[in-house]
Point group: C2
Amino acid sequence: MPRTKGDHEARRRDVSEAVWRVLAAHGFGGLTLRAVAAELDATTGLLTHYFPAKRDLVAHALDLLERRTAARPRRPAGKGVSAVRAALLDVLPLTAEATDSNRIWVSSWDTALADPALSGDYARKYAQSRDKLRELVAAAQQLGELPAGDPARIAAGAQSFVLGLVVQALFDPAAFPLHHQVELLDDYLATLASPPSSSGDHVAPA
Amino acid sequence: MPRTKGDHEARRRDVSEAVWRVLAAHGFGGLTLRAVAAELDATTGLLTHYFPAKRDLVAHALDLLERRTAARPRRPAGKGVSAVRAALLDVLPLTAEATDSNRIWVSSWDTALADPALSGDYARKYAQSRDKLRELVAAAQQLGELPAGDPARIAAGAQSFVLGLVVQALFDPAAFPLHHQVELLDDYLATLASPPSSSGDHVAPA
DNA sequence: GCATTTACACAACAAGCGTTACGGTTATGT
DNA sequence: ACATAACCGTAACGCTTGTTGTGTAAATGC
């Protein structure tokens, strides 16, 4: 029984949702034509019509992941450090949707690391994210809320911190409940806000 | 032409090495019986003899990953913050072997996140790693090299930091050369060593 | 020295994968 | 109204996957 109404736009959304559900359930490695088709109560013939080849499905999945992540509801961002905090909080798996998104994201790293082209995409994507963060850091510095220092380096450090926190929270949600994640992030921001220790030459020779 | 000498212990090492090469080359998602067999110039029959089922191969690969990571040459660790720094530096992809190890590690997250049992293993593994780090942090605190504060929280934060740094460095080695990784880590340690800002109530309501 | 077990190669299997060809139904353009 | 295209089910293809069974040469135990 084919679709009687030609709302092919809504159909596309259905397909995307099915892809999303498969990704959330079985990870990026479990993304298969038949799994998506089953989620749609359809056959692989439908999918080959929307995606000529598997790589197009994968590309769509990646695009979907990026757009859904970007379209996630952001908390109201203030100025200065508050804006930095808001941006970092938006990354953490504090809601069910954010958890799904992050889980899919992490699971995609396997595929991405195996493909140099995809690796490049990811490198660019994260660089862009760092750059966005860098602007917020620089703004906070100009407000005097963060000590001086290369904003790019601070941004890279902050991004590292939340990225690692995401991974740990995904694997051990019991050990990283919402308030704990927020606490850890605030600890980090507090140390950032304090001036760096000048005498810090406890550094051992490599 | 079967092995003439009965060094079945050495044979096991050959198998492990082949598994490792496959993992390094094609990631955890590319771990297949035939790929490993090809790396050994053997057939799948050999592998089924060592590993009754695929899950046993996967388990062995995970074990291999853990043991090789643990057996990586550690830099001489001093006392206090220096020991913390050494432990964190040992995680970063600063050598070719560490890069392989980390790449395989990250690529395994896809498989692990899809399997609740494996997820639990990883949760325990990382918890244990945090605990080890917590001891080092507590020791540094007793030496007065780190300000007071829950050592477990500091350890969790530090582990987050290096974990995220590993991921970023893997995807964008050009943007994260060795010295840059060390710089970022030292930045982080410097902020840790400085006393937290007491007036830090720039915090926006969630 | 003979029986048993170990350590493989070889070959085939069913299942799942992406891909392709074909047909029929519905929408679209003229 | 009629030709054309879009949409999608059906079915099969070839390939790869993990798994299994059989055969055989070497190692081992007695």
